[in-house]
Symmetry: C2
Subunit: 431 residues, 2 copies
């Protein structure tokens, strides 16, 4: 019986597994280093205290428990042996007939890995709660300081990268300061927080039209966000950042700039592009390895438009659905067509009642676009329970101007840490 | 204007602050080392993946934002100078006219602090998510191991302490194995998990009648929990525990045994009992310091029955309400009566449809007791939003036999940890 091994339970891996679920004559193993499928498009809401981790993450094995031919294992892939058709994991070797890599991407600090300590990215639940801790702790610290200088540093937030994630984070911090936190503090004027969005390119949201991008910039500015375009970050340390030649003193810097694909493809000797993505054939297979496929953010697919497809959820979902179809066809002895991406448009949100939608030439912004954003995200959110809870959280937040998950949770759980250099219970000082 | 400083935002501190809220002529500062009030009675449900942290924790400053005379500060008290009427915090000194210590209790390992690493207690959100990580990771690891011996070790759970917390944890693990996880795993029989509840005393739930305690033991046994009474834990290490002379190989040990009050009272020179609780006067004040009071788990109040009141939520709430009343009276120039505890009974839950309630001679167990337990906990849960969401989570879990927050979240958020000795991304091996 053909054994299909899927590495990664993101949008591509999950859709692929579902497409092979309960198909007679196929045995599927899905490996992921976490136990959950994460709905990445709403991760910024966890970082911004609007949703809880469990609202947007569901155990992969629950999502697939109805499929008797699928086994889910939590584990990490250490290396591939393509010619022996073996995957080496941290708990042993797994043989495969078909291998699909959907390991996604992580942040890239353009060769400055030391910046990560001071400027977390947003790809995992752990990073989202770390960002939440830093942002909320900055307000708490500002409330108890007597120094105007310290207060200014604590209430300055720098977001690096003007793509959708950077825009969402900047908008949410601006909004939170103005509406949610303002009434809860006595000593600081939460609305005076300075939020700086830095983008090296000429404009934010470059994947949208120039007109929509300008509208997004205006919307952000109304929330108190300053936008600096055409200026790159040249240094990040514990006390702030350097943007061009200017020094910004800031306690909280967030990274939403470069991404880099998982190194697994490169390590296996596959051809990769500059971002480490595996360059795939028209059917998403790897050159000279017709039984190994790469999908989602880890794949570089250029065959349709001449430009690589972006690393977005719709691309990953269509990859997964396509691969399920062609694996079923191939096992049935049929040939298959190349992958064809159907572009259903794109959307981004800025904050309460503000979003933008572009489908081909159709462009929309403001409240109606925001409602479309809500409906689409709820529709794609996995799991009945999660949909219900997210809708209720949003309704509650919209009506009350509050945020449902304003928790500062520390990294250290012990009372008596063996290593006293770890995070002190009150949250530490490195933020 | 008299300055009231409250240390701790638990049940006692929060009820006290509310009782002084918007009272003319009083200025209140509430200090807490976390930013949230935690509804401790439901903390075990976070540890057992039934609720999310944000369902049972609310920012203290949100809860008190309507009271203009109350300032909330996140910070830690380092020491007291009772005679100078000063509290020394990690951000400076605070003067007070009235000081109320409600710092609660933490776990005590009876002089074996080194056991904590291998047997976390359950007092904070951090500990609850750590326990959740360990319990869920044990199942994940058992699913991918080929060794029967490793599987047995991973599916053995030892809970130390037969009080309400230990009973709730043991019941929840038994129930989760039988109902929730059984259908999601392919290689292990989740229902074969061994759950051992160890109690040094002669019976579990000693605060209940012998009859109720026996009923609880039967209920737990039906969920597959083995109960060992009259046997103390003599050793805990990374591979298991020794109970009396018997060695139990187990990957997951949870601590629900001794507690110890905050050391702040003792350090300030106040008279304390064996558990470190400050021995208080009939009005909860400290001997020779009529303007310093101790409330909640940190206080040892013996004046009513000859026995110290237990460290429970009802005691803490009544402490807080009483102190608000007498401080208002004293400031108004009136005298006050001693504290009198009104015992409204006690309850404990074992699992789905099983609980016990005792009010004086009135005893109840089973489904009706469980419904009472639900209603009382929802009633006292703080915040409209939290009530609604917890009710919905419970309804969903009850109907679906699922758990809403089955997430394994790690301690390390960085991609490039500076210190490679920290927890690896897949969850580590020390559990």
């Amino acid at each position: 019986m053909p054994r299909v091994v899927i590495v990664g339970g993101g949008f591509a891996g999950l859709n692929l597994a579902k497409g092979l679920g309960n198909v007679a004559g196929i045995e599927v193993t899905l490996l992921d280093r976490t136990n959950h499928h994460l709905f990445q498009p709403l991760l910024y809401q966890v970082a911004m205290a609007g949703l809880s981790p469990a609202d947007i993450a569901v155990p992969i094995r629950s999502l697939l428990s109805q499929y008797h031919n699928i086994q889910v294992l939590q584990g990490e892939v250490l290396s591939l042996q393509p010619d022996r058709k073996i995957v080496v994991t941290d708990f042993g070797e797994l043989g495969f007939d078909y291998l699909i890599l959907t390991c996604g991407a992580r942040h890239s600090y353009f060769g400055h890995d030391e910046w990560e300590e001071h400027a977390p990215g947003l790809k995992t639940l752990e990073q989202a709660t770390e960002i939440r801790r830093r942002v909320l702790s900055a307000y708490e610290e500002a409330e108890r300081t007597n120094s105007a200088e310290a207060s200014k540093r604590l209430l300055t937030f720098v977001i690096v990268g003007g793509g959708p994630t950077g825009v969402e984070l900047a908008g949410a911090i601006g909004e939170m300061s103005r509406f949610t936190l303002a009434r809860d503090f006595r000593n600081i004027d939460a609305a005076s927080a300075r939020v700086l969005l830095v983008e090296a390119g000429p404009r934010i949201l470059p994947m949208f039209s120039a007109q929509q991008s300008a509208r997004a910039a205006r919307d952000l500015e109304q929330l108190g966000v300053q936008i600096w375009t055409g200026r790159a970050v040249t240094k990040i340390d514990g006390d702030g950042a350097e943007v061009g030649n200017e020094r910004i003193t800031s306690a909280t810097i967030l990274w939403a700039a470069g991404v880099k694909a998982s190194s697994l493809g490169h390590a296996a000797g596959f051809e990769v592009d500059r971002q480490g993505r595996v360059i795939v054939e028209p059917d998403l297979s790897v050159k000279r390895h017709p039984h190994i496929f790469v999908a989602g953010d880890q794949a570089c697919f250029v065959h349709q438009t001449g430009k690589p497809l972006p690393g977005t959820a719709p691309v990953a979902m269509q990859h997964g659905q396509y691969l399920a179809r062609i694996i079923r066809q191939e096992i049935a002895g049929h040939s298959h067509k190349p992958f064809h991406f159907v572009d259903k448009g794109q959307m981004a949100t800025i904050g309460r009642s503000r979003a933008m939608v572009e489908v081909g030439r159709f462009k929309l912004s403001g409240f109606v676009a925001w409602m479309m954003w809500l409906v689409v995200h709820i529709y794609f959110l996995t799991g009945f329970k999660n949909r219900l809870f997210v809708v209720l959280q949003w309704a509650w937040s919209y009506l009350s101007f509050r945020r449902g998950a304003r928790l500062i949770v520390n990294k250290e759980w012990r009372l008596h840490p063996a290593d006293s250099s770890v995070q002190p219970p009150t949250g530490g000082t490195e933020q």
